[in-house]
Symmetry: C2
Subunit: 214 residues, 2 copies
Amino acid sequence: MPAQGKVSLPVIKRLPKYYRYLSEMKQKGITKVSSSELARIMGTTASQVRQDFNCFGGFGQQGIGYEVNRLHTEIGSLLFKEDSLKTILIGTGRLGKAISSYLNNDTRGYRLLAAFDVQEDVIGTQLCGMTIQHIDQLKEFCKSHNPDVAVLCVPKLSAKELAPTLVELGIKGFWNFSHYDLAVEYPNIMVENVHLGDSLMSLSYRVNSLEHQQ
Amino acid sequence: MPAQGKVSLPVIKRLPKYYRYLSEMKQKGITKVSSSELARIMGTTASQVRQDFNCFGGFGQQGIGYEVNRLHTEIGSLLFKEDSLKTILIGTGRLGKAISSYLNNDTRGYRLLAAFDVQEDVIGTQLCGMTIQHIDQLKEFCKSHNPDVAVLCVPKLSAKELAPTLVELGIKGFWNFSHYDLAVEYPNIMVENVHLGDSLMSLSYRVNSLEHQQ
DNA sequence: TAGATTGTTAATCGATTAACAATC
DNA sequence: TAGATTGTTAATCGATTAACAATC
C-alpha cells in the first residue's frame, strides 16, 4: 500500500480515463494489454502509463503485460470504496435537475440523499425521488446524516455564503458548478470544479484563433 | 499582435478566470490593479500573472500597474470576437436541455442555431425557441448554415459515429459532453471536454483518500 | 528623485519521456 | 535461451517562480 497522498493531480485525473478504456476492453473480452497498446488507444505514451500505474505499486507482470480484469478492479477500487459517498445537492434549477438525474442514473460511488433550494415554489416538490427541502433545513439534515459531498448548483454569491457552513458541517468534497473559487479559500477541502462558462470561453478563444490562422 | 498559436494551453485556460475577476472588479468600481493584488485574489503568483499577460504583449504600465477596464476589454476581445460562433446542439436529453438553456441565457460568444436528436417523439417539439430536428437533417442544415461549433450531448457511440461527418461539414470546435475522445482522433480540431463522470471519479478518489489519512 | 511595479530573462520545479536492467 | 515487457532510474521538456533591469 503506497503513500497515496503523494500521487500528483495529473495522475489522479488520468485514472478515470484508464478505468473507462479498461471497462471497454473487459466488455470486448480482451484479457491482456501492454502499456504500449493502452497508450496507443488513449493517445499517450507507454512510459506514462507505466509511471502512472507504478504510483500505486504497479499492477503488471514483467515480460507479460497487464491483466485487463485485474487492472480494472485495482483502479476501480482506487476510485470507489465499498461505501458510496453520501451526497447532497444544493440548487435545483435546470442544471441541478440535470445533474441530480445524472448522479442517480449514470454514476457509481455516490448516493444522493437530499436536495435543497431557496425558491419557495419548488420546496416540497419531488426530484429524483427526493422531496426538495428549504435551505434552512440544511444544518439539521447534515447533523443527523453527515453527508460527505455537496454538489453546488447555485450562483456564485450563494456558494460563497454557504461554503463556511458546509465545511463546518463536515463536508469533505465539493462538486462545484458555481463560479465561486472554493479551492482558494478552503485549501484542505477537495474541490472538483466544473466551470461551464470558463470551458466555453477557452473553446471560443481557440476556435477564434484557428480562424485567424487560416 | 503576437503569435497566438504559441500560447500554451495552461495560459489559455486561465484567461476566463482573469476575465471573471476583472468583470467583478469593474462592477465594484475598481479602476487599477497590480499583478500582485490580482494574484492574491486569484490564488496564484504575481510572476504568473505578468507572464500570462505578456503572452499577448503585456497590458500594463511599468511602475503603475494594470488598468482594470483596459485589461478586461483586452482579455474579452481575446476570448470573444464580434461575430458569435454559430453553434448546434446534438442530443436533447436532460443534459442537452440544461446545456441549451445555459448557452442561451448565461453565455456570450455563442449563438445556438439548431438542435438535433434521434428520438422520434421529441422531433418537432420546441427547445429554447428552436424546433428539434431529426439528425438526418444535419447535413443539409450544415451545408446551408455553416455552423462553427457542435455541442455533443449524446452517448459515446453516437459521438463516434457523428464525428467524421461533423468534421467534414466544417465544424471547427466541439463542446464535448460524451465520453468519446475526439481529441485523440482529430488532432486539428478544437475540443473542450466536459467529462462529468471523470470529474466525479477523481473527486471520489480524493475524498476517499482523505478519509484514509485521518 | 525615490518608490512602485511592470516586462523579461534566468532559475527552479515538476511532469513527461527515454533508457535500461530486471524478469517473466 | 530469446523475446517481450515491466518497473525504475535518468534525461528532457515545459511550466512556474524568482530576480532584476527598465520605466513610469
